[in-house]
């Protein structure tokens, strides 16, 4: 039934491990499998050296110092470590924090938890293109503001935030500034010095490294507390035997990203423009989401009037194109929670009419996607959209002059 073609356009959810990265990892499973804590024997020493090497590569990618990198298991953990870890270690700095309304669930749900514990949380609004106004952040700062956490780029709509401007404000006011760079780091240039942030979340599986490993950058001189206790790995900030193959993989992916970034960005920018323009021309009822320029390269997101998102996604999938509706890594339909099916908080934040919100699609391309694949998508989109329009009672109403969107 299904087309044999297989086009992966869901890189914001996760990326395949680059074969060169995998190659670097392989020896650390069954040959150089030592535990870095076994520092006395050969296997342990080799593991330690590999750990140092990887840490240097990750640091280099974001222009940090090696000792400012803490390895974790995922971006979710890094986000929690940054926010919870800072608040725990700096109880005197006040009980107010600032986030945005389009953070990942690891920040949003943590903020909710903090509220229950008596913290004050200010949630900054975004404009219709998903942008945060640095002045809004400035205005939200209070005497008891302990920290600001705002994402660098949003996975669902691709918008890149003016973190440099926000961080400058934070620094001026002496406030700890964290940015969730989970889907930005490795895909666009991120430099902790020029950005001026105090903490940065990085995610290996979002730039051709493996799942199960991530990192948190924390600027020297800032104290944070661990999320849990143990044998003092990662300077005591993240205990547990290190995921050596994963860490080696993150190091290798970081080195490749640093090396190939200009070429990757050029390629993806081209594909992104091609897709955007093509869709704009051929799909009458399309509405692009996010910012037209300040967005991740190769990221195109939109919703189509009268059409529901999952059915569109499913039809594309049948035709071999894998994309996302809403944010793959934040929506988890495996739970029984009906709320999981609710409209994306990001789309409602940018003013997509909540009554029709389920129509959103996110196409996130990767370094190995091709023009031919973009052309294929552009080729099949019109018939798929037409088919769903024909099925849609909303579209039928519109044809009868009762357009539900203009009510």
């Amino acid at each position: 039934m299904a087309d044999d073609r297989k086009i992966y356009f869901d890189h914001q959810a996760t990326t395949p491990v680059d074969y060169r990265v995998l190659e670097a990892m392989i020896p650390y499973f069954s040959e150089r499998f030592g535990n870095p804590s076994s520092h006395i024997h050969k296997e342990g020493v080799r593991a330690n050296q590999a750990l140092d090497f990887a840490r240097e590569r990750v640091a280099e990618l974001v222009n940090a110092k090696s000792e400012e990198i803490i390895f974790t298991s995922c971006a979710t953990e890094s986000n929690n470590l940054a926010v919870r870890g800072f608040l725990k270690a700096n109880a005197k700095k006040g009980r107010h924090i600032i986030i945005s309304e389009i953070e990942h669930y690891s920040i949003l749900n943590l903020a909710m938890k903090l509220k229950q514990e008596g913290y004050d949380v200010t949630t900054i609004k975004v404009d219709r293109r998903g942008l945060i106004d640095p002045q809004a952040v400035s205005g939200a700062i209070r005497d008891d503001t302990a920290m600001i956490s705002i994402n660098l780029a949003n996975s669902e709509i691709g918008t890149i935030q003016p973190i440099k401007e926000i961080a400058a404000i934070a620094r001026e006011r002496g406030i700890f500034m964290h940015t969730d760079g989970a889907i930005a780091v490795g895909n666009i240039p991120v430099d902790v010095e020029s950005l001026g942030v105090d903490a940065l979340t990085m995610s290996a599986h979002n730039y051709y490294g493996p799942k199960g490993v991530a990192a948190l950058y924390v600027r020297k001189g800032n104290a944070i507390s661990p999320l849990f206790e143990g044998g003092f790995q990662e300077y005591g900030l993240r205990s547990g035997t290190e995921n050596m193959p994963g860490i080696v993989g993150m190091g290798a992916a970081s080195a490749l990203a640093l090396d190939e970034m200009p070429a990757r960005i050029e390629h993806l920018t081209k594909l992104g423009k091609m897709l955007w323009k093509g869709l704009e021309e051929e799909i009458e009822y399309i509405n692009f989401t996010g910012h037209p320029e300040k967005r991740l390269p190769g990221h195109v997101s939109f919703w189509i009037k009268y059409i529901e998102g999952e059915s569109l996604l499913l039809m594309l999938n049948i035709k071999g194109v894998m994309a996302a509706s809403g944010s793959a890594c934040s929506s988890n339909l495996r739970g029984e929670d009906e709320e999981d099916l609710a409209a994306s908080h990001v789309l409602t934040a940018i003013g997509v009419p909540v009554e029709f919100c389920s129509g959103s699609l996110t196409i996130s391309m990767g370094k190995d996607n091709t023009e031919e694949e973009v052309l294929y998508l552009l080729d099949i989109m019109p018939e798929v959209v037409e088919k769903l329009l024909m099925m849609s009672p909303l579209y039928a109403d519109k044809l009868r002059g009762k357009d539900p969107y203009s009510l």
């Binding site: 039934m1 529901e308 099925m391």
Partner: protein
């Protein structure tokens, strides 16, 4: 705790890709309009009823794959049966006819049952079936 959510059964996929009875019946004498886009799904069921028998059934649906497949399956089940038989069709019957639905998609089959009930109510409201009962 873990109900397998996806993938859809082959039958769901078949009805999604090749929906049966998609469209409108211009001279329908029973229309059921349920759901709303905010909930992600909206189904409009058209029936043509003659002598207490459903002689034709069509649908238009805005919704996910399961919503479209249940709509399609519902119309298949309805065509040619009596009103009494139709009243006995439950959401479970529709889901079963599709070889099951993921737990988080059961509400789609509920919507199908509601669409059917709404259509039959509409038929009654129009005075249908009064003479022939």
């Amino acid at each position: 705790m873990t109900e397998k959510a996806f993938p859809y059964s082959d039958k769901v996929m078949d009805h999604f890709m090749n929906p049966r009875n998609m469209g409108e019946i211009t001279d329908a004498n029973a229309i059921g309009d349920v759901g709303n886009p905010a909930c992600g799904d909206m189904m409009r069921l058209y029936l043509k009823i003659e002598d207490d028998k459903i002689v034709d059934a069509k649908f238009k649906t805005f919704g996910c794959g399961a919503a479209i497949a249940t709509s399609s399956m519902l119309t298949e089940l309805l065509k040619g049966i009596s009103l009494e038989e139709a009243r006995a069709i439950s959401n479970k019957a529709v889901a079963e006819a599709l070889d099951g639905l993921p737990a988080v998609k059961i509400h789609c089959s509920v919507m199908a049952e509601e669409a059917l009930a709404a259509a039959l109510k509409d038929y009654e409201n129009r005075g249908g079936g009064n003479g022939s009962n």
